[in-house]
């Protein structure tokens, strides 16, 4: 019996993705050629490493540790600054265009006006979408409390970026709040076209018991990987009940089954980040194929056949 392969295509804010898997920001997004490689490996969209108004060197090492059930990181948003990032995006766009894989430009700043300025400048490079990273948990000492921790400031950033660009904007939320749904509603109300959830959990800490010191040079860092997946799924599920904009579900996805779970929670697209540690950039092709196989085995022909079904009963 011959079965046709399921249709993995998805539209995110009127941008067509060949499949729902998105390279999450902060992983491998440092160069145009690396972004192209991830796209060739099977990602449906790729996100650049978050870029700010001016160059930043990030935190000293150790910055990323495998603590046993995932990663903990305090890389500290190193980036070449928006002027250099515009060049990277221009090259990446050319490399990605023939592959049909859209580019998401991730941005951050330490002020509301800074977000608007970076968004305006980055828009000139014409990424397909802009991700507003208001939720990095490991730069509080320099950049202040993340905007994602408060509905009012999250909405202020969203509104400022909304006014600064015509491009669709995705707001990346933090799980480190008492009520993520309230933040999601606030950014939707302020003009977000989509929501990405979740950023890393915590911050957490891992102590070296021989020296008695925290291992990360920044002492604390964001927790990611398989350990946080149930929390990410719950956040996506709750957000999808409360907003009408699409959600990019991120957090601990490392196989086709995990992607299915995130889609069933209501996600339109699925971010993949820490899984690159074990699986390399090739992990995108593997998850995509596992997703397609699962759909075929269950008689689903498109993602909408089962998206959000966890909400139905």
């Amino acid at each position: 019996m011959r079965t046709t392969s399921p249709d993995l295509r998805v539209d995110l804010c009127r941008v067509r993705l060949p499949n729902p898997l998105v390279l999450a920001s902060g992983i491998l997004g440092t160069s145009a050629q690396l972004l192209e490689r991830v796209a060739r490996c099977g990602a449906g969209a790729v996100t650049t490493k978050s870029c700010g108004p001016v160059p930043r060197t990030g935190h000293p090492n150790p910055t990323v540790i495998d603590w046993g059930h995932g990663l903990i990181n305090a890389v500290g948003l190193p980036n070449p600054g928006v002027e250099a990032e515009v060049e990277i995006i221009a090259v990446a766009r050319e490399l990605l265009a023939p592959l049909g894989v859209p580019l998401i430009a991730s941005i951050f700043a330490d002020t509301v006006a800074g977000f608007a300025a970076v968004a305006e400048r980055i828009s000139a490079a014409r990424p397909d979408l802009i991700e507003i990273n208001i939720s990095c948990p490991n730069v509080a000492a320099e950049l202040g409390r993340p905007f994602a921790l408060d509905a009012v400031s999250a909405a202020q950033v969203t509104a400022a970026v909304r006014a600064a660009t015509e491009l669709p904007i995705i707001v990346k939320l933090s799980p480190n709040v008492t009520d993520i749904v309230a933040i999601a509603r606030a950014v939707e109300g302020a003009g977000a076209d989509a929501i990405a959830a979740i950023n890393t959990l915590g911050p957490g800490m891992v102590i070296d018991v021989e020296s008695g010191r925290p291992i990360l040079a920044n002492r604390v860092g964001g927790v990611s990987g398989p350990a946080i997946r149930p929390i990410a799924v719950r956040c996506v599920y709750d957000i999808c009940t409360a907003v009408n904009v699409p959600v990019v579900g991120i957090g601990g996805v490392s196989c086709g089954r995990d992607a299915v779970e995130m889609l069933m929670a209501g996600a339109t697209a699925v971010g993949v980040g820490s899984a690159v540690y074990r699986g390399g950039p090739e992990v995108f092709g593997r998850i995509r194929d596992e997703l397609a196989e699962w759909m075929s085995a269950h008689g689903y022909t498109s993602l909408s056949d089962f998206r959000g079904i966890a909400h139905e009963r």
């Binding site: 997004g29 050629q33 090492n61 990323v64």
Partner: protein, 242 residues
């Protein structure tokens, strides 16, 4: 399960290789390929990648170039260093007829000591060309000789061995000997010359590159080299892979 957290290891011996370089032997062991690296951590100071010079016992050769390596050089036998790894892709050894040609420039000699030891243990013939700017910067050349490698020293100023570049010596060796494979580690300019040699003489070559590493785990993208990650796809790359 505690993942791949740094492990503490005591220093059991320290050898001064030259005025800027020391070799640290630790009371730890691992299983590694020559060319792989580990992240070496001093709590409260920094963490940096270093090629393994041996895996049994774990050995690093460290040049004093900055704050971190200055602090490592201040350590004594009995003090502790922390490490995690091994990481990355090392040298692939193919046992064949002909000589294995090793080309080390400056600090690049360090991982080649490990490689030479494995090759000699497998009964392979090894020619090691050890290059430096000047005599006082030569590194580890006596270790290669002690393992039974044919060693050719080259200095740019002629203060020791042949005057000239290690890669010029390599062209001569490749004319006189049947070379099975070329392995190199050193500055980027030297590696480009090695690639030319391998292309010109149709020799299989592998070069170990440096990258600006942060995570060492293939996720942060800091050490990107074209579409590759030095920490995960390298640091050893085949010369025909670019």
């Amino acid at each position: 399960m505690s993942g791949d957290l740094p492990s503490a290891a005591r220093i059991i011996s320290i050898a001064e290789e030259n005025t800027r370089v020391k070799t640290f032997v630790l009371d730890a062991e691992t299983q590694a390929q020559p060319g792989q690296f580990a992240m070496v951590w001093l709590p409260g100071v920094d963490e940096k990648p270093f090629s393994l010079v041996d895996d049994h016992p774990l050995t690093f050769t460290i040049a004093r170039v900055g704050l971190f390596t200055r602090q490592v050089h201040a350590l004594h036998v009995g003090d502790r260093l922390w490490w995690r790894g091994p990481f990355g892709r090392g040298f692939e050894i193919r046992e064949t007829d002909g000589v294995h040609l090793l080309i080390g420039g400056g600090y690049g000699a360090a991982p080649l000591v490990f490689l030479a030891r494995r090759l000699r243990a497998a009964g392979q013939r090894v020619v090691a060309i050890i290059g430096a700017k000047t005599k006082t910067e030569l590194l580890l050349e006596t270790r290669f000789a002690a393992m039974g490698c044919t060693v050719i020293v080259a200095t740019e100023d002629g203060s020791a061995g042949v005057r000239g570049l290690a890669t010029d010596v390599a062209w001569n060796v490749a004319q006189q000997e049947t070379v099975a494979a070329v392995y190199a580690c050193g500055p980027e300019g030297m590696l480009s010359a090695v690639e030319l040699l391998c292309t010109g003489r149709h020799l299989p070559g592998q070069v170990s590159r440096e990258g600006y590493m942060r995570c060492g785990l293939g996720v942060c993208g800091s050490c990107h080299y074209g579409p590759w990650l030095v920490c995960r796809d390298g640091p050893v790359f085949a010369t025909n892979s670019e």
